[in-house]
Amino acid sequence: MISERVKSNLKQTFSESLLPKLGLLLLVSIVFMAIFAPLLATHDPTRTGHYDEQGAEYPPLGHEYTTQTPHEGDIVEITVEPTTEHVLGTNNVGQDVYSRFLYGARVSLLVGILGTSMALAIGVPVGLVAGYYGGRVDDGLMRIADTMLAFPALVLALALIGVFGESPVMVPDPIVMAGLADGMPESIPIPGTVTIVVALVTWVWFARVARGEALSIRNEEYVKAARSFGTSNKTILLKHVLPNSLTPIIVLATIQVAVIILLEASLAYLGFSGTTLSWGYEIERGQDVLRTRPWVSMFPGIGIVLAVISVNLLGDWFRDALDPNIEGEGR
């Protein structure tokens, strides 16, 4: 459990260095952006368009309901440079890069958090059981974990998506539902398979850490004592082993959010996202026009870097303050 000592360590590390403050500030801003994306966005992120030379919008492509349509010889743009109307420009289909940047934060963070939670839910029980019981159970579970490690994360992800498809899950947007942001999409797609896949390729790291903790805790005097009182293994695991392994697991979870954000971006970049509203996908899309319209892939990339840095800074803070012995991280 989170003890007083832990709290004071956290506080002390936080006040000593600039980095945790920076990380927290960045993360809060990104979470804010993600939550209030519909209010902060200037355009519907999925809406395609075309523009005149100043970046002002013509009616959507081919819609006859409005009278203003381009005339023969007019200069019409799809991908416009950053202007006052489109602060970060538009992408190759005329969508507003800034608005997509905001919505991209939602997808990245949601996949990061959901994926990590799932990985945690698989990895921690497996690791605790393996470490606590030891012997054959441990051997078997750890070999499975080794197998997962021997499978390059990306390969497993690509194969599973090949099998299960991308299954985007439409998540309704409460802000738009409440009528606060007219004209924004009513729901955003979360890539279902990708989320499960990132959990499947990263749970091993949780299992390894949880196992290590359980191994050392099971030989502690108070565990031995509890066992001699006839306390069931299940109770010991839940009451003693789990609470005492929480610290390193929390630190690892923080790092894993960053790892998963990067993994999701890589998958989206390779075209396996299941949603087009993703930073990684946007970079892929911008690759076609990299030489002439670099802003299309530049800004989403900066988004990924900032999000991952903020989470990593937080992870470093936890690690420095709590000092668990975690080796490496998966990616």
Binding site: V76, G271, Q287, V289
Partner: protein, 535 residues
């Protein structure tokens, strides 16, 4: 607006303006200070490097029927006929041919001076065997293109060393389009000796694994990367223009453009509209384009809701503004289309206009269909056709603007779309009923553009289930008189327009980047023949 993507409604104006505006941007300028070894090689006028978007993944010349593949292999395994898009077939290895009336066969007369790269003479038996191999799976060295590639062709038989008979099950007019395009020559004895018996295939990765009669022979081959050809000294015909030809591939348009700019390559294909200006502004290279035989459209499988309603399918066609997509998303590099095939194809019906966007009509058609409020998804491949993902998103967005239909685009890998296209029309197994795909009618005959999609008998991979349309196509296959057959094919196209089995989009242009001093006109059938070039 420096560096921004520009287009004008009138493409000529566009080119003029972007040319002028572009001069001030400098963004596209690339420092050419790389002392690249390949650049040095290119000063040799007798060499040419061609960069494709995909490298051939097999060495069997009869494994595919379309694609970048033939750009390479036709120089090694030459076609038996010269095919001129829109005109027909002309003598090449086959000197003369005669339709045997009423026998379902044509007699081909070969030149007697054709030799393979290994020195063997070409005989009629080689060709007969090559054709048999593609239609008869029990031959041993089976070819994957099987019978769908050779259409109605049933077999071939050598009559003497230079004469053979090709048998087919359709009208000679149709069969001629088919054997005129597909027929190649493998060296029978050599192939039987060298093929991989366990695997029943022609495969390998050495230069000696290629043995054709074409004007070039293989001197170096690196699987997946590069193939180098040199003139074949004993070639029967005219000496081709370059002594040494290198083919390589780059899947990214921007990469191909970079190779062209740095003179690492002399000709490259599938340039994206966005990159056109970059190429035009660079020195010594230019853009060449031609409207291809490749139509882009979205099949709607009519065995599932809501696509089982003709009104609904027509509504989809009325919802989309093809002209606008062509002029904006494709920067003008295409032509709006309202039928399955492109102009220049035998049977193209020039009286059919593309569907004009009319949202009012579209919405009322949706109401009539009873599918008001329908939610549909358009599955779109990425990187396969000219700006495919962007086209697909725009189409979905335009359909979505209808008050009574909502539509999303799902961007996927091409393999998913390809699977969907061949998954058939069984309503229980259809997962993707509405997707964007492209089809190049490379034979130059409407049959190739419609048969695979619409005919019912023996065609589990069809995308549309309609007796009337299927019968119309089957009927056309039997008509012997060329004019009558063409009229029937025009009728097929008209019927397809009305029944709207597709959301018709456009015919795309092929855009090439070429070294200025190479004289060469791009072909509608997307093939690149070195023997048609001059320097």
């Amino acid at each position: 607006m420096k560096g921004a993507k520009r287009y004008a409604i009138d493409r000529r104006t566009l080119l003029k303006i972007t040319g002028a505006a572009g001069a001030t941007t400098g963004l596209g300028a690339i420092a050419g200070c790389l002392d690249d070894p390949d650049a040095g090689d290119d000063e040799d006028p007798d060499e040419i490097t061609i960069t494709l978007s995909q490298f051939p993944d097999t060495i069997d010349p009869l494994d595919h029927i379309t694609g970048d593949y033939f750009d390479v292999y036709d120089h090694i395994y030459e076609p038996l006929f010269d095919f001129e898009p829109g005109e027909g077939i002309f003598a090449r290895v086959v000197e003369d041919w005669e339709i045997l009336e009423g026998e379902g066969a044509t007699e081909l007369q070969l030149r007697d001076d054709v030799v393979f790269h290994n020195g063997d003479d070409l005989t009629a038996e080689d060709i007969a065997w090559t054709i048999e191999r593609t239609v008869d799976p029990d031959m041993g060295v089976v070819s994957d293109i099987g019978s769908f590639g050779l259409g109605s062709i049933e077999g071939a038989e050598a009559l003497d060393d230079t004469t053979l008979e090709v048998q087919y099950a359709a009208a000679p007019g149709l069969a001629e389009f088919e054997f005129g395009n597909y027929a190649r020559a493998l060296n029978m004895e050599w192939a039987i000796e060298n093929h991989d018996a366990e695997n029943e295939a022609i495969s390998g990765a050495d230069p000696e694994d290629f043995n054709g009669t074409g004007p070039y022979e293989v001197v170096d081959f690196t699987s997946g990367e590069e193939i180098v050809l040199e003139r074949f000294d004993d070639y029967w015909g005219d000496e081709p223009p370059f002594e040494r030809v290198t083919f390589n591939a780059d899947g990214e348009s921007s990469g191909r453009v970079a190779s062209l700019e740095t003179a690492e390559t002399d000709l490259t294909i599938n340039i994206l509209p966005e990159d056109v200006t970059t190429v035009e502004e660079a020195d010594d290279i230019e853009i060449r384009e031609v409207t291809s035989f490749r139509n882009i459209f979205c099949p709607m499988k009519n065995t599932v809701e809501p696509f089982d309603s003709e009104e609904f399918r027509q509504a989809m066609n009325y919802a989309v503004d093809n002209e606008e997509i062509v002029s904006s998303v494709l920067n003008g590099y295409g032509e709006a289309r309202g039928q399955p095939v492109a102009p220049g194809i035998n049977g193209f019906n020039d009286e059919i206009e593309p569907y004009e966007q009319d949202l009012g009509t579209a919405e009322s058609l949706v109401e009539e269909s009873g599918y008001g409020g329908a939610e549909i998804e358009l599955t779109v491949p990425q990187g396969r056709y000219l700006n495919d993902a962007e086209v697909g998103e725009t189409v979905a967005d335009q359909i979505d603007q209808l008050d009574n239909v909502s539509c999303d685009a799902n961007i996927v890998d091409f393999g998913v779309v390809s699977d969907a296209n061949s998954a058939g029309v069984d309503p229980d197994t259809i997962e993707i009923p509405f997707y964007l795909i492209g089809w190049g009618t490379i034979t130059g005959d409407t049959d190739y553009g419609v048969q695979g999609f619409f005919t019912i008998p023996d065609n589990p991979a069809r995308t549309f289930d309609d007796e009337e349309l299927s019968d119309a196509i089957l009927e056309s296959q039997e008509i012997e008189d060329p004019d009558e057959r063409r009229a029937q094919l025009e009728e097929v196209n008209q019927l397809a327009h009305e029944k709207a089995p597709f959301l018709f989009l456009h015919t795309q242009e092929s855009i090439y980047g070429v070294r200025e001093d190479i004289q060469w006109d791009p072909r509608e059938d997307e093939t690149v023949y070195i023997w048609e070039m001059e320097t």
